[in-house]
Symmetry: C2
Subunit: 396 residues, 2 copies
């Protein structure tokens, strides 16, 4: 009996677990402190009324034999697949319902999708980025290459044709940097993938935060992407589903590698290792895509984007370099006075009772950078901005 | 770019997909037929009132900022882990909450657990059995051995120490045969696992259907099992959660292989590739374990067990060999006149409008056998029993 020895190559603890531990210790030592979390990207606004109504209604259905729902379709309920196709149509991306797989969140699918690829594929991952891309590939023992994000390229690395990769991760708007690729930049990635027979795993979890109409919100807005990309999206941030769990993965029928349809391979994987998302939750998710639901979640997003503006205006006034915040709920700042990220984390926690996320938790290029989120309440965000001003002015 | 070529070794389609296709075609050709499904093990009774109340209450919580829940603990909510520990305590199995992982169903965890094992481990799988055990290992390219279940051993194969395996699957009460191991028989498996440094993956999804108090309902009722077993359970059949999705996986702290805690390895896997079960659903699941919820689900189980008795009495009266039905919602019968399973499936569908599941869908030893489930409504089950009597008497 051997366990999977690739796990030995993982770092000790998942980023947010370490952050959580430090916060727990601080609170234990400072029971009176009013800690404000702008750390883990969790939302604070409740589910929208249209979603709550749909959830109640679905719960009631489950209480009567006539309307009770047992096993659903592995790929998701028709009504939700169709609602998502409608949402994509509004972006001028035409999909068939069977190109949409309902998931319990982008994280699960981003990890599990690797099941359908050979374990010797080379993956190419931005640095800094959401740590799950790296860890899931370490677990499978795949060779990993990194592409450098830095202030020079605005944390938006572009392809280098002298490097060969089979699987490419892109996240735009990016977590943690908030930077968003333009259509022309994504075009370069699609060209690269086509030339190298690669597949792009495109994480669009933050697409709903894009304010600039000229920026793409789906990779399928780029010609040719249907032949080389899979898109992962989530309602976690769009509609406050972090604890409600629903997302979707789009695998176009046109995506074929080695003569095999990746859509069919993923369907086979899901029918074997998954039994679908709760019916109740899928009803709640479908309400997000109704006109009423869209209006309500857009209002929530506007609320968070006002927080983003408060934080980025504060940083600008203090002369601190940052990116993000304009088309993303994340603000990525350079730690003042060239402080290391974890030192800045500790100082901010201990002196201003603010929790952020150290940049190096997202990769080596994150060293010296720091992520703040706009997902706090308005009141907490205003207080945090004030504390940040005082902390920077008095301490540094 | 290569896809996972182990998928080439999978059979064409998942058993229930093929059944579904045949039923779809029959209904299209016979629009007036009242088809009764005793095929896929899906339940028909609605969620219990205590569960519905808890779900409504949790939905309401999600609508207010003060009670809204975002990301939960990866391993599950404390209140649900503790409720499950209480349930195990009633079976004289004492667990710590961190030995319990809340899942979206046993199927997901039974597939995903393989991530933490080396890909060269040899697995030993009963035949016939739930097809997911085989398919998930084919996908990973693991060597598979089969243990034969047959009328001779009552479809309860026992270990043979001359065979070495690293991972052993047991399902008791068994799907599809309904046969349930005694404590003495499970004791032999625990001894085998200890001697061979193997791990038993114990699927107890049907434990709530055991009527005979002398039979074990958890492998942890066997001494030594904590050092060699993982148990997977589900509320799908216990409480009608097939479309609501919640289960749990128990990995004792004492389970160590190669110096590594399997509990910790699985936690690492889940924190990286999973984000927990919806808060709303976990509240509904917790209600199953309240005294009121237990009373209500026990009533539902009694309802289904009455169906099982109707079906097994019918078979007995017709002189057809069967097992199961006593401690399980499944009845496993020998096809009359030595008919092949798929032929019997077609005949039963076309001549009696009853859908069952061909035994060979569960493995080669299932050839010539057939599974019926007790999960229909009372009315449909009585009608099906009558049709079955007529069909067997007139046709065969």
């Amino acid at each position: 009996m051997n366990t999977n020895n690739h796990y030995d190559n993982l770092q000790d603890s998942y980023l947010f677990a370490r952050v959580g531990q430090k916060v727990k210790e601080y609170k234990a030592q400072n029971p009176g402190a009013q800690v404000i979390s702008l750390g883990i990207g969790d939302v604070t606004q409740p589910l929208a009324p249209a979603v709550i109504d749909a959830l109640h209604s679905a719960v009631s259905e489950m209480g009567y034999a006539e309307s009770f729902r047992g096993y659903g379709e592995y790929q998701g309920c028709d009504f939700l697949q169709e609602a998502i196709c409608g949402y994509y149509a509004s972006k001028n991306v035409m999909l068939q319902p069977d190109e949409v797989f309902i998931s319990d969140g982008a994280k699960s699918d981003l990890g599990n999708i690797l099941d359908i690829f050979a374990s010797d594929n080379t993956v190419w991952i931005p640095d800094p980025v959401y740590p799950v891309y790296v860890d899931t590939n370490i677990m499978a023992g795949r060779p990993i290459l990194f592409m450098d994000g830095n202030a020079g390229n605005g944390f938006l690395p572009l392809p280098d044709n002298s490097t060969h990769a089979d699987i490419i991760y892109l996240c735009s708007p990016n977590n943690p940097t908030g930077a968003a690729y333009t259509s022309e930049q994504l075009r370069q990635w699609v060209d690269y993938a086509q030339r190298h027979d690669a597949v792009i795993l495109f994480d669009s979890a933050y697409e709903a935060f894009v304010q600039d109409d000229s920026l793409p919100t789906s990779i399928f807005q780029i010609d040719g992407a249907r032949e080389c990309a899979i898109e992962f999206c989530s309602l976690s941030k769009t509609a406050g589903f972090t604890g409600t769990r629903c997302g979707y993965t789009v695998i176009p029928r046109a995506l074929v590698r080695g003569g095999k349809s990746l859509n069919k391979l993923w369907l086979r994987r899901q029918t074997t290792k998954f039994n679908g998302v709760p019916y109740i939750i899928q009803r709640g998710a479908a309400a997000v895509f109704t006109p009423e639901g869209q209006q309500q979640v857009r209002t929530q997003i506007a609320y968070y984007m006002q927080n983003a503006k408060t934080l980025s205006d504060t940083l600008a006034a203090l002369g601190i370099w940052y990116t993000g915040g304009l088309n993303s709920p994340y603000i990525w700042l350079k730690c003042p006075n060239d402080m290391p990220s974890w030192d800045f984390f500790d100082a901010l926690l201990n002196q201003a009772s603010i929790v952020g996320t150290p940049g190096e938790g997202f990769g080596k290029n994150g060293a010296g950078y720091f992520r703040l989120t706009a997902f706090g309440s308005r009141e907490n965000t205003l207080t945090a901005a004030e504390r940040l001003r005082t902390f920077i002015k008095n301490t540094l």
